[in-house]
Symmetry: C2
């Protein structure tokens, strides 16, 4: 065990340092290049993925004996993989039993195991990429980067925060208090105790990136963890659980410290698990409806949620109209708008904006955005790489009904790319609406649906955007302006609304992107979620400290 | 402002260091000696207290114009002090308005103000002592120590934790990510934003000691704070609020950053305040019934509670029977058992225990405890100093009905001391019960009521004690044993139940005592409360971080 810790100690130290300074750092290379991961890595990953298809996924954990699993790739292929079905009570009991020795292990031993799990996940990044792509609909490159190294970085970040927090409590101290002419002397020991069994409820679009922070935060702080994937995206988390169980077993712990609770849309296990008396922590990424259910009904556990938001962009002016339109076109198109960080509402003054290309009317701004989207997606292969596929058929329905919500500036259509012949696809739908049409644009319209919202002026844009962030939730906001006063006004308004702001993005960085160790993902300060990935508040409650004090004879 | 920070910087540094090492440290001397606080301090405190009686308490804050306040000293005297009545909406609006500039201040400026408030509170420790004694019924010395310096230490601890947590986030960083042959460069700024208006709900027994952690934790992290005292113990917190407002005003902030919400038993404001949309943090000390109401109904705010527990003592054996009995007698008698840390249930095997005085039967252990209580309280003046007065008349009723719950080993009686002639007093009631009488002893019996519980053996004692801690809550536990294996078994069981343990206390330290910077008061891991005073989890969620990122031209 301590070998694992020593082996990965430098990584942990670097992660701790990066989380403190918050400059750029990453432990796991994001490039799928053969020079980085080896000449054969991609082929091996593909082979490993294909070897899993149309078979039971082997996982030696508590099961009812039945099997579940009906994932269908958004690219067209049913995966044909089944997973052991579980009974919530039996699974929690197994987690609790296995968790005893895990809770008693040192922070170093637990961190060592967690870091070894991450290292092995990193080596399986190509397999994970395929598993993520063929459940979420992400393109291969996004499945690799966001599902692999970036998710691993987020997991490492949680390990680092959890480890730092535990190490802040000394194991023991001699307490010597002057009393009259003598001393009262106590030996005090501090034991870290886990909060309870952790439950991680995965989402269908970013099962690993959104799942790893809670998984690793609960794990490193001493809690056994049950991973409950979305029925549509089980495989990436099943692979993760399998690797975790392998490492736990090798380190001398019972593999049931990490288990999988695969279920079905028809017979979900989530509520039974989340309200189980022995479950002490719930991490959830998903819809506001179920997030609210959890916040209202889970009384025995800490609940950390990332729900959803209506992300705004305020467009006041720009020194690069082309750069702005291209940047936003990419943000609106990337993974077909299925990122929780994708913009939905672009606020533009009725009188238009000033740009490096002269004044642009409201309609010209909207047309510029549409043109940039068309340009980005004109090449079918590039379009396939940017858009990927649509995870849920309901999203296509949503696009259909959304067309009537405003004036269609750019229509959505399937992608005519050979790679996507069997896939469920859709390019962005861009609608123009008046700011008064709040019913249209203030509701979250998940998927490639965006609104250009006509406001009175930029002050109105900022007020509406910040208010929507505060009341409907937002994970990202962006502003385009050449006026420092406007930028400061937007900064203050969005800070007050608890939403991270990107200013004048016109190059190769996008509002959708959130970097581990630097960007705090979700603030926890508006309805988009009650927690941040990752800050101290995300980890500090996952364990508790119990003091034991004994007098020492003077 | 920065003067305040510089003036108190050494205190803050020492507090941060002490909270890390958790050895003995205190910023504010606990001795009311004239050598420490000055020859005239006590007389000045008494004079200042008396000058407040039978008058309106002046506080220049939002008010309806009406006045409230009907405190009666448990020592007999109606205080005759009235406070400005407030309207919850108006008070929250005032707090929010005043909070804007406070939120924008630096962590240093806010910490400076908080530390200056604490320093001035310390100088008023004698006044606070009288105010605490004549509302809670604490003896003068406890009112001084627990209400003054110890409470100030707890406040300082919260300032230190909050400050450290804020400083962990850098104000800005340049983020440089290699991209191809170039770099993506962003300037990132991180703004700390308050969670919302903080509400501190005070209790009737330790208004300052239990109120200061939440008050100072919310304050230093940028939140305006409304202090809602218990109607029976307003004055100590009113004095605190007044001092806070003075310092805020001197530092250039609006005094409404800290306000008082005095109310009455007949027309309580607590629910309206706690569920107000702009209230983001609620700190509560009080009954489990209202704690549960808050946890169930406050959906818009973080809720930190200290509720109540049934604190167990496991008696397996001792190397000092006399020391053990004397130590427990003091713990049961101190402030008439009205401390949240006082033991209630003493588990003793039916077959008795081995001691330095030979084997003692169950009845002999019970008799030894009764005798030690009698001895401690035999001198009326000492009895008055140890017991103080009973805060709430309902406690006397509770003692009356409790007599029928078991065999009376030692009866409760008023104290016949001149100093307590007009006071509401009661010595400890000690009852013997069989372990099967769970209805009698597993319910919290607030006040000087304790049970000697006859168990099968020590294993049974530990199991029952730990189970009760886990299900009913407990803030403290104690074990007496000369067997290391038993001590380890108890340590593991109580750690699992999330309760701090004291081992073999036979001298001048008592299970009731909890030292700032060293003991974590309440674990948050059983029903006695969901929060700990003070750990990182107690402060980390009180502010949020909002990132603002801007590309830098390469």
């Amino acid at each position: 065990m301590s070998d694992f810790f020593e082996a990965h100690r430098a990584t942990l130290d670097a992660a701790l340092s990066a989380a403190g300074t918050r400059g750029y750092w990453s432990a796991y290379p994001e490039s799928p290049s053969p020079r980085v991961y080896g000449e054969t890595a991609k082929a091996e990953g593909t082979a490993a993925f294909e070897a899993l298809l149309d078979k039971p996924f082997e996982l030696d954990q508590p099961t009812t004996g039945e099997r579940v699993g009906a994932e269908v790739s958004p690219y067209g292929r049913p995966l044909g993989v089944t997973y052991p079905a579980t009974d919530p009570d039996a699974l929690v009991a197994a987690a609790k039993a296995a968790g005893k020795a895990w809770a008693a292990a040192s922070p170093e031993d637990r961190a060592g195991v967690a870091l070894e799990i991450l290292a092995r996940l990193n080596r399986q990044s190509f397999l994970i990429a395929d598993a993520v792509s063929h459940t979420t609909g992400q393109s291969f490159i996004m499945g690799f980067q966001a599902g692999g190294p970036h998710a691993q970085d987020r997991g490492l970040e949680a390990v680092a925060y959890g480890f730092a927090e535990m190490k802040r409590v000394p194991g023991a101290v001699r307490w010597e208090k002057p009393a009259g002419k003598g001393m009262v002397v106590l030996d005090k020991a501090f034991r870290l105790v886990p909060r309870g069994v952790g439950l991680v409820i995965g989402c269908a679009t970013f099962p690993t990136w959104n799942g790893y922070p809670g998984l690793f935060a609960s794990l490193v702080t001493g809690n056994a963890v049950i991973v409950k994937p979305h029925p549509g995206a089980i495989l990436p988390l099943a692979i993760t659980v399998k690797i975790a169980r392998d490492v736990l077993g090798e380190a001398g712990f019972h593999p049931n410290v990490v288990t999988l609770a695969a279920d079905t849309v028809e017979a979900p296990l989530t509520k039974a698990l989340a309200t189980h008396a022995e479950v002490g922590i719930v991490d959830f990424t998903g819809s506001p409806v179920f997030g609210r259910w959890l916040r209202d009904n889970v009384r025995q556990a800490l609940v950390y949620t990332e729900e959803a938001g209506v992300n705004p962009v305020v467009i006041d002016g720009t020194a690069s109209f082309k750069g702005m339109c291209q940047n936003l076109a990419f943000s609106l198109s990337l993974y077909s708008g299925q990122m929780c960080t994708a913009p939905q509402n672009l606020f533009v003054p009725a009188g238009g904006i000033d740009t490096d290309e002269g004044h642009k009317s409201f309609d010209e701004v909207a047309a510029g955005l549409a043109k940039a989207i068309d340009g980005l997606l004109s090449d079918p292969d590039r379009a396939a790489g940017v858009l990927g596929a649509v995870q849920n058929p309901a999203t296509l329905e949503r696009i259909k009904t959304a067309r009537s919500l405003g004036t269609v500036v750019r229509d959505s259509a399937p992608v005519d790319a050979p790679a996507l012949a069997a896939a469920r696809t859709a390019t962005p739908l861009l609608l123009a609406v008046d700011a008064s049409a709040e019913d249209a644009y203030l509701e979250e319209r998940f998927g490639p649906i965006a609104f250009v919202v006509k406001t009175k002026d930029t002050a109105d844009s900022i007020a509406r955007a910040a208010h929507s962030a505060k009341t409907r939730g937002a994970i990202t906001a962006a502003v385009y302006s050449t006026d420092e006063a406007v930028i400061e006004e937007a900064s203050a308004a969005f800070a007050d609304a608890g939403v991270a702001l990107s200013v004048n993005l016109t190059g190769g960085l996008y509002v959708n992107q959130s970097a581990a160790f630097s960007d705090f993902h979700v603030t926890g300060a508006n309805p988009a979620g009650n927690a941040c990935l990752t800050d101290t508040a995300f980890v500090a409650g996952r364990f508790r400290v119990v003091g034991i004090r004994t007098p020492v004879a003077a």
